[in-house]
């Protein structure tokens, strides 16, 4: 049986426009792969297709042999595939506690939901003191922490993270990336991390994929990618 995330000949439309064309790649179990590209390169669309929010036009994807095609997001969550989407994936009208509860709402093992909730709160202590506040009273960084904290309560195996750094201050970005790095080592998570902030992402990634206009331009280890002068200027912004 094939293990990890395997994407083959994936083509996805964004509305009527083709956003992703014929992409193939894989992410090994426990690996953190950064998907890098400019705005409009199709990164978010790719994640949306992997988590079942939109259907690919063509191609297939599987996670540890389980086909993702034709599945709804709520089914994929139950398989451990959790997507934290762009722009702080929290429900602003609900309290912090309710947003966290949402992550375990479908799980039967309530004792483990409680344990996971405690773990999330110990990773993000800022949330613990604000449980009863509405999520829209949180800062951008705290919302991102809440989104990740909620995702952890679902006990993910494959985490799809969409631009966790979006709109955050540099210090907060650093903290979020540190947490992601620590979490995946501690929990053995497989992570597909979509980022515009290439340098931060590559610092914690095992591998980087560079996406350009919906097609895969190149891939390699962070060192290889950073060493390429053309990539540095065109895609990594350094």
């Amino acid at each position: 049986m094939s293990s990890g995330l395997i994407v083959e000949n994936f083509t996805v439309n964004y509305g009527a426009v083709s956003a992703i064309q014929d992409i193939s790649f894989d992410v090994a179990p426990g690996e953190l792969v950064a998907l890098i590209g400019a705005n409009g390169a199709g990164k978010s669309t790719l994640l949306r297709a992997l988590s079942g929010l939109v259907a690919p036009v063509q191609g297939s994807a599987s996670w540890n042999g389980y086909s993702l095609n034709g599945k709804k997001p709520e089914d994929l969550v139950r398989q451990g595939i959790v997507h934290v989407c762009e722009g702080k994936s929290v429900i602003p009208e609900l309290s912090v506690a309710e947003n966290l509860a949402l992550g375990g709402i479908w799980r039967r093992d309530k004792a483990d939901v409680l344990a996971a909730r405690e773990e999330s709160l110990s990773i993000f202590p800022a949330l613990a003191s604000r449980l009863q506040q509405r999520a829209d009273s949180l800062s951008g960084g705290e919302r991102q922490m809440l989104a990740i904290g909620r995702a952890l309560i679902s006990r993910p195996k494959l985490l799809l993270l969409d631009e966790p750094s979006l709109g955050l201050a540099p210090l907060v970005i650093e903290e979020i990336f540190k947490v992601i790095d620590r979490l995946r080592r501690k929990l053995g998570l497989t992570v597909l991390l979509v980022e515009q902030n290439a340098v931060s992402a590559l610092r914690i990634a095992d591998r980087g994929l560079i996406l350009n206009l919906g097609a895969l331009l190149t891939s390699g280890t962070p060192d290889e990618l950073m060493a390429d002068p053309q990539l540095r200027t065109a895609y990594l912004g350094i």
């Binding site: 988590s51 929010l53 709804k72 997001p73 709520e74 969550v77 139950r78 959790v82 997507h83 934290v84 989407c85 994936s89 929290v90 429900i91 602003p92 009208e93 609900l94 309710e98 509860a101 949402l102 992550g103 709402i105 479908w106 799980r107 829209d136 909620r150 679902s154």
Partner: protein, 296 residues
Amino acid sequence: MFIDTLLIGISSGAIYSLMALSLVLVWRSTRIVNFAQSGQAVFSTYIGYEIAVRAHDYWISLPLAIIFGALLGSLVDLLFMRPLLRRVKDGPIAEIAPVIATLGLLGLLQSLLGLIWGNAFLQYASPLSAKGFTFGSHTVPFSPQNLFIVLASCAVLVIFGFIFKYTNLGLALRAASFQPEIAQLAGVRVSRVRNIGWAFAGATGALAGAVITPTATLSPNSLDLLFVSGFIAAVIGGLDSLVGAVVGGLVLGIGFSFILQYIAGSVTFLVGFIILMVVLLIRPRGIFGRDAGRHA
């Protein structure tokens, strides 16, 4: 006289509250203002009437009407709303199309009722007395049936208040209505949860119809005006708040009653709209409405 007027206000206010509650329930779970609600409610009331005629027992007909109301609500979602929303996904039309569709559905349901039962005024009687309670020599304009309506309103408020606030289903309902996509990504089966929301609202509408109708008559349009008042009450209350719906209903009922008593009957309905306008101007989110969330 003052007490009597107040009691009349409370009993009609409770009726508006029930209608308002059923609207708030659909709104809270789907973000759709359901204009077909009065049609669904009156349909369920006809079913209650039919059962009461055959079984000679109001108390058997009431729960069955409520169950029918829940099923009808669920079917409206499955056969009507879902296919519609599958076709119109985004743009301004996606916000307005479902609301217009509920208007169409209202016409459809009421014509259907006319075809089955005719347009005559029917009596759906309850064993509770419609005569006011008597204290000493004074009979107040508040009957056991009125009391029952008030209690039904309170029960709906307490039951759904509890469900929304303290259960996983309630959390899922709220999450699905605020941010369906994020709810889905968190594992909420959004379409199933919404369907339950439609069923809850349908059941509440049916309860409203079945407890109100014994105080009047039953015809395909008999709940329309009450529904308009219920709608005003819901908006006054903030459309999102169960407590707001009840308070809105009472404000309206008591307001109407005092105007009828001390000013003139002809202006009551006008005053309803004036109250609505004033509330919308001063507090567009309603007395109990919270920030964000009103779209349609």
